[in-house]
Symmetry: C2
Subunit: 547 residues, 2 copies
C-alpha cells in the first residue's frame, strides 16, 4: 500500500499523559487515538494488527471445536437480576435506559446472556459438552482508565463458555482451552506464563491466568528459576520446610515497652472479622500476611481487617480463633509486642505459649524461597493479565435455572467453564515486549506490513522507478508492503519507519541508478548496501532471524 494514501498520523512529540511504552508508542506510531478517557479509535495500522490477533484466536478456537457466535452488548437488566449481579457489580457496570424506561447493562462479561441463550436448548446430556465463543467489544467503567489499551473502558475481548454434564468433561475442555491459549500467545510472539490464580470462590475452583511478562504489569508473578512453576503472588504456596534445629526453649518473659530480646524472632498478630467470627493470625514480622490464603483456609468469601482496641492474642477472648503461619512451627524463641499492653513478650515458644488452633501456609512467598514444586528458587516478575481460564461450576446455571436431563431423566444444573482473552490488551502487551526507544519492532506474525519500502526522494525518477519495480516484485512474492512514496524529508520518513516498526526496511536512495539499495532489519538497524539481485534471498534470511 502506498503510504501517501494511508491514514497514519504519527507524532513527533511524546504525548504528555502516556504512562507506558505501549501507550506512548501506539499513539506516536499512529496505531490508535484517544476519543475519551479509556476509549480509543483503532486506526488502520492498529486495526490491521488487531485483526491478525483475531485470526490467530479464531484458528485456535476452531481447532478445539469451539463455535463462534456474537451476543449483543445491550443486555437486559432482568438477566443481571436473575444472578444478582445487577446490584453486586457496582459502578464498573455501565447501564442505560431505553426510550421506554427499560434498563440495560452494556456487556462487561457474557455469563448471563449466554446462560439464558443455552438454557432452553441444552436440555439433555446428549447435547453436551458444548463450547461457544465470541470476539466482542466489552464495556467496563474503570475508575482510573490508564496505560492506553491496557485498562480501557471500551475494549475488545474474546470470551468463551463451555457447558458440561460432569466435572471430568469440564476438566477436559478446561485443559483444551488452556493449551489453545498457550498456542495463541505463542503465535503472537509473547513471553508469558500461565499462572495459578485465585478463583475468589469458596472451595477454590481451578483457574489460571495468562500473564505477559512486562515491567509495567500490575500483577506480580512468582515463578521458579528452574522449572515451569508459576503462580500469582497471592496464590504461590510456601513450602512447610522442616528446620530441625529451632533452638532452645526458654522461660517466657514479659517486659514493659518495646524490648525484643537478642536472638529472638519477632512475630506479629493480625486480626480479622468474617461474617461469623473473629480470627487472629500470627506471622513472622519479616513475612507478609496473605489475606487470600487466610480467606481460603477459613473457607469464607469475605474477611475484613480489624484493629482491636483491646485483647491480647496470647490470651484471646473465648470464641476468637487463632491461626499461625507454618513458619512459626520452627521457632522456639519468638518475641511479640502487645500494643494494648505496651509490653513485649520474649522467649515465646509458639507450641507452648500460643493458643494456635492450626498452623497453615498464610504468608506471601518471597524471592529466594524454594519453589513449591521442589525445583529451584522463586523469582518475581511483573505481568499483564492477557487471559484467564476458569471453572465456573454451577454458579450461573443454578441462579438462572439452566438445567439438563441426565441419563436417568433427572434435571441437573449445567456445569460451566468460562474463558477470556483481552484482545486489545494483548496488543498492548506485545508493544511492551517489542519496542525500542525509537518505536515498535513488531513480531513478524503480527506486523501490519512485512516490508517497509522507503523512497528517499520520490521526485528522482531513478529512485521512483526502482521503488515501483520493487513494490510490484515484493507484492508478487506475497509480502505485505508499505511503500513510503511521500514527498517528505528523509529524516521524517526514517523516523516514521522506526515508529511503525515493520520487520524489514528497504531504502531506495542515491544509488538507485546502479540498482543498489539499502537493507536493514528494524531490530538491528544496521543498513547494508545490496544489489537488488541479492535482495530476495537477503530478505528471506532477515525474516528468518526476526522474531
Amino acid at each position: 500500500m502506498k503510504q501517501s494514501q494511508m491514514f497514519i498520523p504519527t507524532m513527533k512529540e511524546t504525548p504528555a499523559d502516556a504512562e507506558s511504552a505501549s501507550h506512548r508508542l501506539l499513539l506516536r506510531g499512529g496505531f490508535i487515538r484517544q476519543v475519551a478517557a479509556g476509549v480509543y479509535s483503532y486506526l488502520p495500522l492498529g486495526y490491521k494488527i488487531i485483526k491478525k490477533i483475531e485470526v490467530i484466536i479464531r484458528e485456535e478456537m476452531d481447532r478445539i471445536g469451539s463455535q463462534e457466535l456474537l451476543l449483543p452488548a445491550m443486555q437486559p437488566a432482568e438477566l443481571w437480576h436473575e444472578t444478582g449481579r445487577w446490584d453486586v457489580y457496582g459502578p464498573e457496570l455501565m447501564r442505560l435506559k431505553d426510550r421506554h424506561g427499560r434498563f440495560f447493562a452494556l456487556g462487561a462479561t457474557g455469563e448471563e446472556v449466554i446462560t439464558s441463550l443455552v438454557r432452553d436448548y441444552l436440555n439433555s446430556y446428549k447435547k453436551l459438552p458444548m463450547s461457544l465463543y465470541q470476539i466482542q467489544t466489552k464495556y467496563r467503567d474503570e475508575k482510573r482508565p490508564r496505560f492506553g489499551l491496557l485498562r480501557g473502558r471500551e475494549f475488545i475481548m474474546k470470551d468463551a463458555y463451555t457447558f458440561h454434564d460432569s466435572a471430568e468433561s469440564l476438566d477436559q475442555s478446561y485443559w483444551e482451552m488452556y493449551h489453545a491459549y498457550c498456542r495463541i500467545f505463542e503465535r503472537c510472539g509473547l513471553k508469558f506464563r500461565a499462572v495459578l490464580a485465585d478463583s475468589g470462590a469458596i472451595g477454590g475452583k481451578d483457574t489460571h491466568e495468562f500473564q505477559a511478562l512486562a515491567e509495567i504489569g500490575e500483577d506480580i508473578i512468582a515463578y521458579s528459576d528452574s522449572s515451569d512453576y508459576a503462580a500469582n503472588l497471592e496464590m504461590a504456596a510456601v513450602l512447610d520446610t522442616d528446620i530441625t534445629d529451632k533452638g532452645e526453649s526458654l522461660p517466657l518473659e514479659k517486659t514493659a515497652g518495646k524490648a525484643i530480646a537478642s536472638g529472638a524472632v519477632s512475630i506479629s498478630a493480625y486480626w480479622f472479622k468474617t461474617r461469623e467470627e473473629t480470627v487472629v493470625v500470627f506471622v513472622k514480622s519479616s513475612d507478609e500476611i496473605n489475606d487470600v490464603k487466610v480467606k481460603n483456609v477459613l473457607g469464607t468469601d469475605l474477611i475484613e481487617s480489624i484493629n482491636p482496641e483491646s485483647g491480647n492474642p496470647l490470651h484471646p477472648e473465648k470464641g476468637v480463633r487463632v491461626l499461625a503461619d507454618n513458619g512459626l512451627k520452627h521457632i522456639a524463641q519468638a518475641s511479640f509486642y502487645s500494643e494494648p499492653e505496651a509490653a513485649t513478650y520474649n522467649f515465646i515458644d509458639p507450641k507452648r505459649d500460643l493458643p494456635v488452633e492450626r498452623y497453615e501456609d498464610l504468608r506471601f512467598i518471597k524471592e529466594g524461597d524454594p519453589s513449591p514444586d521442589g525445583k529451584g528458587r522463586i523469582k518475581f516478575a511483573h505481568g499483564i493479565e492477557i487471559g484467564q481460564v476458569f471453572k465456573l461450576g454451577t454458579k450461573y446455571s443454578e441462579a438462572m435455572n439452566a438445567t439438563y436431563l441426565d441419563a436417568e431423566g433427572k434435571a441437573r444444573p449445567l456445569i460451566m467453564g468460562c474463558y477470556g482473552i483481552g484482545v486489545s490488551r494483548t496488543l498492548s502487551a506485545i508493544c511492551e515486549q517489542y519496542h525500542d526507544e525509537d518505536g515498535m519492532i513488531w513480531p513478524k506474525s503480527l506486523a501490519p506490513f512485512t516490508i517497509h519500502l522507503i523512497t528517499v526522494n520520490p521526485k528522482n525518477k531513478d529512485q521512483y522507478d526502482l521503488s515501483e519495480k520493487l513494490y510490484m516484485q515484493f507484492t508478487d512474492q506475497g509480502y505485505d508492503v508499505l511503500w513510503d512514496d511521500r514527498k517528505e524529508r528523509p529524516g521524517v520518513k526514517f523516523a516514521d519507519s522506526e515508529l511503525i516498526g515493520c520487520p524489514v526496511q528497504v531504502i531506495v536512495g542515491k544509488k538507485a541508478a546502479d540498482q543498489i539499495v539499502e537493507l536493514a532489519s528494524r531490530k538491528e538497524k544496521e543498513r547494508i548496501e545490496i544489489s537488488i539481485k541479492e535482495l530476495p534471498l537477503s530478505i528471506v534470511q532477515l525474516l528468518d532471524q526476526a522474531d
Copy 2:
C-alpha cells in the same frame, strides 16, 4: 462440522410474533435469537453468514483503496454538541452517563467521531483524498423494532467516510463507492436497485439508496419496465409531457356546493407553511402531492401542512405564493371546490384564472407513467434499504472546524462523503429473497455450509462408515460440510435440513451398503439415487446450477 457438536437450536413451531419470512426463518433455522426487542444474538450458523458478508465487503472496500479502522461505540456528548445533533437527534440516540457523570452517545452513526479524528491530521490538500471505513455495531433506539434484524436497535453496519478538496474528487469517490456497493450486493446474490433518493438537504446533494427488492420492504421504488432507471417513489421525476389538445377555454363559473361540471378535471389545493412564508400548491385531484418535491422547489429544509380556516387559493392573500403541478399546464377546464366558501368553481383555465407563480413537478409518479429517462413505463416495487451513498459536502467539517490548507495556503473545510451498508439488514434481505415455505435456500456465496451430509440412521454401521468416508472426501475437496450425525428421527433431520438451507443435500440411507446415496439440491428438492462414484461430478453440476 459434526451437527451433534453444533449449537443449532431449530424450532418446529413458527414463532407467534415473527412478522416477516426472514424473521421467522432466521429464528426457526437457529440462525439468531432475540435477547430483547430489536436486540439479537447471532448464533454460530447466522454469524458464519454475517462473516461471509463482511469478507465480501472488506474485499471490495480494499479494492477501491478504502482503509479499515474501528471507532468506539462510546462517543462523548461534546462531539455531538459541536454539530448540534445531541439535541436534534431525538430519542433514537441512545445515551448514557459514566461514573463521573459525563454523557456519551452510543454510536448511531460516525460522522462526529471520524471528523474529530481526521481534523488534526488531514490538514493539507496533499493528504487528500482519504477513504476510511469500519464494520461496527451501531445503536438506534427505534420506537417500534420489527421484522427481526430488519429494524433492530443494536445492529451491524459498514460505514465509510471520504475526505476531499474538490467536488470532482468527491464525485470520483462517490461513484467508486457506488460501483463497489453494486459488486458487494451482486456477490451476495441480491436482487436490488440503486435508486435516486432524497438527500433531505437544501440544494439537493447527490445520494443513492440501494434497495433490495422484497414484498416486506417499507420503501416503494419506481422503476422503468424497459431501462435501468430507478428512484425512490418520492424522488422519481414526472415528465412534463406536452398534450397539445387541452380542450376549449370556457367562462369561469361559480356554483354553491359541490358541483363539478361534466368533462372538467378536478383539482385540489394544498397549503403549507415554511419558516418564512405560506404556500399553496395546486395538483390534479387524481394525482398525489409530493411534499419532498415541494420542499426542494422552495429550497427550504422544513415545510408543514396547514389547513387554513379561510382563504381562497384562487384569490390568495398578499404574500401567499401559489405553485401548481405541471399537469395543470395541460388543462383548460378545471374544477375546484372551495371549502371555506362551500362553492365550486368550474371551467377554470389555470393559465387564465389561477395566480400561479411557477409550474413545477410537484406530484408523485404513478405506475404507468412514462419513465423519466424516456424509456418505457414506470412500475412500482417494494424495497428494503440495504445501503446508501451520500455526498455530505461541508456540513460536518464546517460545524467541527475540520479544515485543510489548499495549494494557496488558504484554510478550507474538508469536503466529505459518507456511505453505509446495513450488514445485519443485508442478511435479512437475502432471507426475504432466498427461501421457500420450509426454510432457507442460501445462495452459494453465503451458505453457512455448502453440503449438508445427512446420515439417516447413524447407529447403522454401513451408513455411519460411508458417511464418515464422504465427510472426509468432501472436506478434502474443499467443501464446507455439515454432517448430521445426530441420533434423531429422520423426519426431524430432514425438516432441520430444509430450515438450515445448505445448497446441496447428500442423504446416506438404506442403500449405503451398496455405495448408493441420495442427492438433492435444496432448491429443487427432487432426490436422485446415485452411486458415490458419480457423486463428485454431480455435486459440481448441482452447484453450477445453484444461485
